[in-house]
Amino acid sequence: MGLGFAIGAFGVLILAHAAYSTIQYRGLLKIMEEEFSGPPMNVVVELLVGLVLCMWAALTVPGKFLSIHPHSDENRIVSLPANMDFMVFNHRGKVFPSAMDLKLKH
C-alpha cells in the first residue's frame, strides 16, 4: 500500500516534470525562432515512464479486483437465505424438545 502510493506519487511528479520541460522547450524554441516539430526525446521517455508508474499504482493501490464471473466461488449462490420472516414454530422440533436445560441467568 505505502510502496504503491509512493510509486504513484513519483509517477505524477515525473509527468509534472515532463510538462514543465515541454513548456521550457517551447520557450527555448521561441527565443531561437524555430518551428515546433515534436517534443524532445527526454520528455517522451518521461511521459512513458510516468504513464507506466501511474497505471501500475492505480491498479494496485485501491484494492484487489473482484471476480465478475457468475460461477466463481465469490459470486456463485449455493443457497438462498431461510425465509426467517415467515418462520413457523410448530414444526417437528416441537416433538423433540432439546435436551439442553438452558437458562438465562442474571
Partner: protein, 302 residues
C-alpha cells in the same frame, strides 16, 4: 444469498466454535448476516455469551440485537422460558418498542395460542398499517395453523402493496408448490427471475416446476432453464445437470415416432452426462456405477 465462499467460511466458523476455538460472536453475526436458520447453535452459543457478564458488556449496544436473536432461536427450539426471559429483558430496556411487541406476538405463536397472537399483531398493525414484518408474521400464523388458503390470501394482499419483495414471492411460490398448484408457482418463479435474473437457484426451481407440469413445450422450456442454471453456475450444480438428462429423455419419449427434424442440440445430454460422470468421479467415486446405471435407464427409455 449465500455464496460459495460465504458457505465455506460459515462452516469453518461453525467447526471452530463447536470445537471450543472461540469466535462465537463472529459466528452469530455471520448467521444473522446470511439469514441462515441455525436455531439450536444460536441458542447455545448466544446464551453462553449472554450469561457471561463480561462478554455481554463488551458487546455494547449490540447486546440487544443478540437478545432478540437468541429469543427467536429459543422460540424455534421450543425453549419458551429462555425466550420469555430474553423478551422481559428487552421489554425493560425498550418499554414502548414495536419490535419487542412483535417478539411477544411471536412468543404467543410459539405457545400455540393463535387467537391471542392474531390479536397482538392486529393491535400492532393499527398503529402502523404498513409494517412489513407484521404482515409477514400474519402469513406465518395462518401457515402454522395449516390454513394455506388464508396464507395465500394474506400474501397476495401483501404483494399488491410490496411488489418488489422477492423473498415473499419465493415464499408464495413454495406454498403453491407444497399445494401442487404448479401453474401459480411457475408465475411466482417467473416474477423472481425477472427481479433477479442472475440467481441460478430461481432458474433451477422454475425449471423444476416446468418439468413437473409436463407437456412438450414445458419440457423444452425446462431444458432451457436448466441450461441457464448450468451457465450461471459454471456446471457446478448437479441438480441442473440431472435435470438436463431427465428433460432430454422425457422429450425423446414424447416425440417418439414423430419426425426428429427439430431435434435441437442432440449433444446437450452427452455433455451433461460427461460433466456428471466427471463430477462423481471427483467427489464420490464409489457412486459412479450407480450413476452409470441410472443414466443408462434414462437412455433405454428414450
Amino acid at each position: 444469498m449465500v455464496t460459495k465462499t460465504e458457505e465455506t467460511q460459515l462452516n469453518r466458523l461453525e467447526g471452530q466454535v463447536e470445537n471450543g476455538g472461540g469466535g462465537a460472536w463472529d459466528y452469530l453475526c455471520f448467521v444473522r448476516k446470511l439469514k441462515v436458520r441455525r436455531s439450536d447453535k444460536v441458542l447455545k452459543y448466544g446464551l453462553s455469551i449472554l450469561n457471561d457478564p463480561k462478554k455481554r458488556s463488551s458487546l455494547g449496544p449490540e447486546e440487544w440485537t443478540l437478545y432478540e436473536q437468541v429469543a427467536i432461536a429459543a422460540m424455534d427450539c421450543q425453549c419458551l422460558d429462555v425466550a420469555k426471559d430474553c423478551i422481559n429483558v428487552l421489554q425493560k430496556r425498550f418499554p414502548e418498542s414495536k419490535r419487542v411487541g412483535r417478539l411477544e406476538g411471536m412468543l404467543l405463536e410459539a405457545k400455540g395460542s393463535w387467537t391471542e397472537a392474531e390479536k397482538a399483531y392486529l393491535s400492532l398493525l393499527e398503529d402502523n398499517p404498513l409494517d412489513q414484518v407484521i404482515h409477514k408474521r400474519r402469513v406465518a400464523l395462518a401457515k402454522a395453523q395449516g390454513n394455506m388458503s388464508e396464507a395465500i390470501e394474506f400474501i397476495n394482499k401483501y404483494l399488491e402493496i410490496f411488489m418488489a419483495d422477492s423473498d415473499t414471492w419465493r415464499e408464495l411460490a413454495e406454498i403453491y408448490v407444497s399445494l401442487q398448484m404448479y401453474k401459480q408457482a411457475a408465475f411466482c418463479y417467473e416474477e423472481l427471475i425477472l427481479a433477479q435474473p442472475t440467481v441460478p437457484l430461481y432458474h433451477l426451481a422454475y425449471a423444476d416446476v416446468l418439468y413437473t407440469l409436463g407437456g412438450l413445450e414445458n419440457l423444452q422450456a425446462a431444458k432451457k432453464y436448466y441450461s441457464s442454471a448450468i451457465e450461471l453456475t459454471g456446471g457446478k450444480n448437479t441438480r441442473a445437470l440431472f435435470g438436463i438428462c431427465l428433460c432430454t429423455s422425457a422429450i425423446a419419449q414424447l416425440t417418439k415416432g414423430r419426425n426428429k427434424e427439430e431435434k435441437d442440440s442432440p449433444d446437450l445430454q452427452s455433455l451433461a452426462t460427461a460433466a456428471l460422470e466427471k463430477d462423481y468421479k471427483q467427489r464420490a467415486s464409489d457412486k459412479v456405477s450407480v450413476l452409470g446405471s441410472a443414466l443408462k435407464s434414462l437412455k433405454v427409455s428414450s
